[in-house]
C-alpha cells in the first residue's frame, strides 16, 4: 500500500470515527434515546469528544517521530478541525439551552464561573487555529504557522482544567486526561522529542516545527 493510499484509508477511518459520536447524538435527539435530560447528554458527549480529539491531535506529531512515518502528519489538521467543531457545538448547545440565547447571562457566567471561563478561553484559542487551517493561510503564514498552531497545547490544557473543575466528586477521568496531556507535553520537549540527538547534530525544536510546516506544505504542493 502506498503512503498515499494509507493516508486515504486513515482519513476515511477518521471521518467515520469523528462523525460517529455526532451522528449518535443527532439520532438520540430524534428518537428520544438520550434519556430524561438530553441536553446534559449533548453537553457531555460533545465536550468529551472535543477533548479526546484534541488529545489525538496532540499525539500525531509524537507518533510521527516514534514511527518515523511522516505522512501521518496529514491527519493532524482534520483531527484538529473536528475537535474544534465539537467544541463549537458544545458551546452552542450551552448558549442555546442553558443560557437560552441570553447574552447577558452568558457574559455573567463566563465572568463568574471559572470552569466556564477556561472553557471559553480554550474555545477562543482554537478559533484562530481553525481559521488559519486553510491552505491559503498556511502559505501566507509560512514558518509562523507552526508557532501559532502550538496554541493547540494551550487549548488542550485549558480543556483539561475545565473538565477537572466541573466534576463534582469523581476526578479520576479528568486526572487521566491530565496525565495523558502531561505525557504529550513531555514528549514534545526537545530532549525526549529527538530520539538520538547527536551532539550538535540534533534538530532544534524550531527546526522540527519547520519540518512540520513543510509536511503540511508537501500536502498542499
Amino acid at each position: 500500500m502506498t503512503a498515499q493510499r494509507a493516508v486515504l484509508a486513515l482519513k476515511l477511518a477518521l471521518w467515520v470515527g469523528a462523525l460517529a459520536p455526532g451522528i449518535r447524538l443527532v439520532h438520540g435527539v430524534l428518537t428520544g434515546g438520550l434519556g430524561a435530560n438530553p441536553i446534559e447528554m449533548l453537553t457531555h458527549w460533545t465536550g468529551m469528544t472535543a477533548l479526546v480529539l484534541l488529545m489525538i491531535t496532540l499525539s500525531i506529531t509524537p507518533l510521527r517521530r516514534i514511527t518515523g512515518w511522516n505522512p501521518i502528519i496529514r491527519l493532524r489538521r482534520p483531527v484538529g478541525l473536528f475537535a474544534f467543531f465539537y467544541a463549537l457545538a458544545h458551546f452552542g448547545i450551552w448558549f442555546v439551552f442553558d443560557m437560552v440565547f441570553n447574552v447577558r447571562w452568558m457574559l455573567d457566567d463566563i465572568a463568574e464561573r471559572r470552569f466556564i471561563t477556561v472553557g471559553m478561553a480554550a474555545l477562543l484559542v482554537l478559533v484562530p487555529l481553525a481559521v488559519t487551517s486553510t491552505r491559503g493561510w498556511i502559505r501566507r503564514l509560512g514558518k509562523r504557522w507552526g508557532k501559532l498552531h502550538r496554541g493547540v497545547y494551550v487549548a488542550a490544557t485549558l480543556g483539561v482544567v475545565h473538565y477537572y473543575w466541573l466534576v463534582k466528586a469523581d476526578v479520576r477521568l479528568p486526572l487521566a486526561f491530565a496525565a495523558g496531556l502531561a505525557v504529550l507535553l513531555v514528549a514534545r520537549h526537545p530532549r525526549f522529542a529527538a530520539p538520538r540527538p547527536a551532539p550538535g547534530g540534533g534538530r532544534s525544536a524550531a527546526q522540527r516545527e519547520e519540518d512540520d510546516v513543510d509536511a503540511e506544505r508537501v500536502r498542499i504542493g
Partner: protein, 319 residues
C-alpha cells in the same frame, strides 16, 4: 369530571384532598394519562421489576402539584437521578442497581431518644398510613422534576421513638454494600453517605420518609426501601436506602459538605439568590423540558410553609 389533587400541606394545617372541576386541568389530565400510558410502554417496562409486577394506579393520571405542574413520567423519575452508590452517571442507578436487595430491611434508631433499637422496616410501617405526596425535586445541578412520592411524615416516626431534650439534629446513614452497590467500590465519596436535618426541619409536616413512588414500592435506583424527601432543599439532602437514624446534639457533617464545604452546606435550602460556585441557581431545567428557563422559587416554592424556620438567619452564610 372530578379531579383529585395532591394534598397541599401547610405547617399550620394539613389540607385534605381538594376536589376540582376545571376544564384546563381536565385537558392536562388527559395529557398526563397519555404520559403515564407511555411510561407503561414496553421500553419503560424492560428491566423494571416494580412496573412489571404492578401497574401505575389510575389516580396518577389526574394528579398535579399544588402549583398545577404536571408530573414527570414514571420512566423519567426512575431512569434519571443521582445515586453515586451505583455510579456517577444519571442512568447508572437504574442500570447498576439490579443486584441490590432491599428486603428484608432493618433500621437502627439510636442516640438521644427513649426507644432506641433495631427495627424491622415492616414493623415501622405497620403503624403508619402511607400517602401520596406530589413534590418538586430541585437538584443542586439545576434540573428539576415533579414527583408523586409515597410515604409517611418523618414526624410520626420521630414521635414514636421519643427523642430526649438533648436531640437537636437527626442524622441519617445510607447502607454500605459494595458487593451490591458498584459505586461504593471506589472512593468517589466517603462512604457511608450521611445526611442530617435540624430537629424542627425533621418534624416539619412536609418532610417525608418515602417507601414508594407512583404508589408503588421504590425501585432500587430511587433509594429502596426507605428514603428521605425534603422538598424545599436540594435533592442531595434526600438520603436513600436509610439504615440508621440517630438523634444528636451537634450539627452533623453531611457527605457533600465534607466533600466540598465551599460548594455545599448543611442546610442546602433551595435559594435562587445564592449561586453554586459553578453555576447560577436562579434558573433550572424543568425536565423533560430542554431549556434552562424555569425560574427557581425560594425554598423551591414552599417558602410559605418553611421560611419561619430560618427567620433571622443569613441564608448566604448558612447555605
Amino acid at each position: 369530571m372530578i379531579i383529585r389533587r395532591a394534598p397541599d400541606i401547610r405547617s399550620s394545617e394539613i389540607t385534605p384532598e381538594s376536589v376540582y372541576v376545571n376544564r384546563r386541568q381536565f385537558i392536562r389530565a388527559a395529557t398526563a394519562a397519555g404520559a403515564v400510558g407511555m411510561a407503561l410502554g414496553p421500553r419503560a417496562l424492560a428491566g423494571e421489576e416494580a412496573a412489571q409486577s404492578q401497574e401505575i394506579p389510575a389516580r396518577f393520571a389526574r394528579m398535579t402539584s399544588e402549583l398545577d405542574e404536571p408530573l414527570n413520567t414514571y420512566e423519567d423519575v426512575t431512569t434519571y437521578n443521582n445515586f453515586y452508590e451505583f455510579g456517577t452517571g444519571k442512568a447508572d442507578p437504574s442500570r447498576n442497581s439490579g443486584a441490590f436487595r432491599p428486603k428484608p430491611w432493618k433500621v437502627r434508631i439510636g442516640g438521644e431518644c427513649n426507644r432506641p433499637g433495631e427495627y424491622d422496616l415492616d414493623d415501622l410501617l405497620a403503624g403508619v398510613t402511607l400517602e401520596d405526596r406530589v413534590y418538586r425535586l430541585r437538584c443542586v445541578e439545576a434540573w428539576s422534576m415533579v414527583i408523586p412520592w409515597y410515604g409517611f411524615q418523618l414526624s410520626t416516626l420521630i414521635d414514636r421513638v421519643e427523642p430526649t431534650g438533648n436531640a437537636k439534629f437527626v442524622v441519617f446513614t445510607t447502607v454500605v454494600r459494595p458487593e451490591e452497590m458498584p459505586g461504593q467500590r471506589a472512593p468517589i465519596l466517603r462512604w457511608p453517605y450521611i445526611e442530617g436535618l435540624r430537629m424542627d426541619e425533621a418534624m416539619h409536616p412536609l418532610t417525608l420518609l418515602a417507601t414508594g413512588v407512583y404508589g408503588m414500592d421504590l425501585p432500587n435506583q430511587n433509594g429502596a426501601p426507605l428514603r428521605l424527601v425534603v422538598p424545599w432543599k436540594y435533592g442531595f439532602k434526600g438520603i436513600k436506602s436509610i439504615v440508621s437514624i440517630d438523634f444528636v446534639e451537634e450539627m452533623p457533617l453531611n457527605t457533600w459538605k465534607q466533600q466540598n464545604s465551599f460548594e455545599y452546606g448543611f442546610y442546602a435550602n433551595v435559594n435562587p439568590n445564592v449561586s453554586h460556585p459553578r453555576w447560577s441557581q436562579a434558573r433550572e431545567t424543568r425536565l423533560p423540558g430542554l431549556f434552562k428557563n424555569h425560574e427557581t422559587l425560594m425554598f423551591n416554592g414552599y417558602a410559605d410553609q418553611v421560611q419561619h424556620m430560618y427567620a433571622g438567619m443569613d441564608l448566604e452564610r448558612w447555605k
